[in-house]
């Protein structure tokens, strides 16, 4: 080798990574390069020191147990094939979202172009609505509920038959929600006066 080697080739030679013709060429070149020969020896000495102090291989503690744990983990994985098996590409995964989108678009189109089944009743000043007989629920057995509606009178009446008469003595105020007096501030009224409570 008459010319200087490139940086990578020189580095590989210094690291003893060259073989065959490349190595022979570099060795021939290095005969006249004492600095490079010294650098290679220095590097060999360094690597020797590192290798002597730090072993490349150390058996892990409890080596058999080490292997056993790996075997157990693999066994466990094998018993869960569904989770461990990677998902493969399927046309279904592409078609399903497309079908869903098409369905939504079709539903929207039908909704925009369909007419109501029942005739509309025009009530002056009121929003148009489809008249539907209400379903009435009664909380007590024996009670019958009837519903009457008069669009002309703009009135709706619900009649409950079978409900027990309400006694005159019943105090409706007892069933109404009333505010109770509550202490606003525990530190108030220290002078002996009653604490003022806002009207509720």
């Amino acid at each position: 080798m008459n010319t200087n080697p490139d940086e990578t080739t020189l580095a590989l030679w210094l690291e003893d990574e060259l073989h065959g013709d490349e190595l022979a060429a570099m060795e021939a070149w290095a005969r006249n390069e004492p600095e490079q020969l010294a650098a290679r020896e220095e590097l060999r000495r360094w690597k020797g020191m590192m290798a002597a102090a730090l072993p490349a291989s150390e058996e892990p503690p409890y080596a058999e147990f080490f292997n056993g744990r790996i075997r157990t983990a693999i066994h466990r994985q094998e018993q869960e094939p569904a989770a461990a098996t990677p998902r493969r590409f399927s046309w279904q995964s592409v078609l399903m979202p497309l079908a869903a989108c098409a369905g939504m678009a079709l539903t929207f189109w039908i909704g925009m172009n369909s007419r109501p089944a029942a005739p509309e009743i025009d009530v002056a000043g009121a929003p148009k609505a489809i008249p539907v007989d209400p379903i009435l629920y009664t909380p007590e057995r024996g009670v019958k509920a009837e519903w009457f509606s008069s669009p002309e009178a703009a009135a709706t009446v619900i009649v409950l038959n079978g409900v027990a008469a309400i006694p005159d003595s019943m105090d409706f105020s007892a069933t109404a929600a009333t505010g109770e007096l509550r202490e606003i501030d525990a530190t108030a009224g220290v002078d002996g006066n009653d604490t003022e409570t806002p009207d509720l």
């Binding site: 580095a11 360094w46 020191m49 590192m50 892990p60 075997r71 018993q79």
Partner: protein
Amino acid sequence: MNKSSDEPSNPTREPVGSADPDAALSGPDEDFRLVALAQQGDLGSYDALVTRHRGRIFAMIRNMIHQEADAWDLSQEVFIKAWNALPRFEAKARFSTWLYRIAHNVVYDWTRRRKIESAGELNDEIFERERIDSGSFTTPAGGDSPDETMAHGELREKIEAALAKLSPEHREAVLLKDVQGLAYKEIAEVMECSIGTVMSRLFYARQKLQTMLKDEYESR
């Protein structure tokens, strides 16, 4: 771990690439032979691979994170991930290089998790010398005399302390090259970078280490 009839055979494992079992069986490389069998679901062969490589993977991870217990767990994680990825191993690289690559990812994921978990706390202990369990030092392999063993043990402590002061990238480059003996190209594959980056990291890492270990280095 010996192969037994109750071991799972994984019928879904379909090898990809050049790991032809027949070719591998006649090949000189025992790793490739075992890999080919393991790719067919032979857990016994995979167990043999674990036994062959666990020492290097454990040593590499332990030197990276300086915690023996975590290194033990992470090394197992490497082999479990390798088993799951085995159908995709194409035998273009050495099996050991492929394992180092998985170990690289496992260690960096672990470091990232540790940083997130300890967010807001003093997390400088990750990769720091102070985290080294003094009881975890093991005797270097080889037939050293007691004096040599002691000298190597002391040197090892000093080298580990110096390594802990390097960035993870510099430390990994030095460990892969000077301890594990990988080639530049292999290190580039493991660390997912160019050969030029490997050369640069190695140059600066060695420079820093030699400065920190000046006394020990010059006395030898």
